[in-house]
Symmetry: C2
Subunit: 168 residues, 2 copies
């Protein structure tokens, strides 16, 4: 029975070809990191892929810390927005819906822990992967990795909470 439920979740999470951030309600899609309605932002796009959520992002040449290396604040931002998308996808799956069937639920960040394992080189596409490690109705914990040219350079753990009424 658990296996069956697991397969339902896997199936429901792998069907959308639209980015999770593009399923956020219009009035909650202005995020500087990932909102489709923010023309000045990074516009990160995260996609469900089985139990994981995956994004690809190529930082701009000026998004550096030291010349040659990606700015850590940007990497934290990617982990942050990606984790909110993973939380949304997992919430939809747990509710028995396919992500994309209805507007994606909006989570916000309660805590962010980022470990910079090694410098992340600029000039290559980054792969961001995330999966939910724990969740309840109102909260999720998401593990995120960021890899450059196949090497994981960043690990993050992010705590997401359902958007409080006061922010809507």
């Amino acid at each position: 029975m658990l296996e069956f439920a697991h397969n339902v979740i896997r199936d429901s999470m792998s069907t959308s070809k639209r980015a999770i951030q593009d399923l956020y309600p219009d009035d909650l899609a202005h995020c500087f990191g990932c909102g489709r309605n923010n023309p000045y932002g990074h516009q990160l796009k995260s996609f469900s892929e089985g139990d994981e959520v995956v994004a690809h992002f190529t930082p701009a040449a000026h998004q550096i810390s030291i010349p040659g290396f990606v700015y850590g604040g940007l990497l934290a931002s990617l982990a942050d927005c990606h984790a909110m998308a993973a939380a949304a996808a997992a919430a939809e799956a747990a509710a028995g819906r396919r992500i994309g069937d209805s507007p994606a639920p909006r989570f916000v960040t309660a805590a962010l822990r980022v470990d910079y394992l090694k410098p992340t080189p600029i000039g290559v596409e980054l792969e961001v992967r995330g999966h939910v490690t724990e969740r309840s109705e109102k909260k999720a914990i998401i593990a995120v990795t960021i890899a450059a040219a196949g090497t994981i350079t960043v690990r993050a753990e992010v705590v997401a909470v359902r958007i409080p009424k006061s922010m809507e």
Copy 2:
């Protein structure tokens, strides 16, 4: 004796009127968060003030998560860059130099932990405060707070390490 050393540190940290980031060597001042040589970046400016390092920053209208509130990735970025400045000031003080006597030592981020205590409103100037809680020759731990209109909305703990040779 310890008290004397403490006073020397306090004195040497409170004298510079220039932002710590403006004392980084020219070839290490391109950071997207705080580099004076990055015209596209946030250009955070942190100043020594006694044992603390203080910065003021007003996010742009588009740097939001949800309309009305500052983007968490930006807040993480401010904490990050501010902490590196605090590490640099503390290293200079510990070496018996006044910050500004010579180029400021450059630290990079090893780990970042950010707790979003409450939503940070957009449209007001933020005050970022940091102080070093632990340090050795190569590493420092910095506690950072971000306040909006007198209320602390973010607490961060940042691990800074002296820039490795491989990144210079």
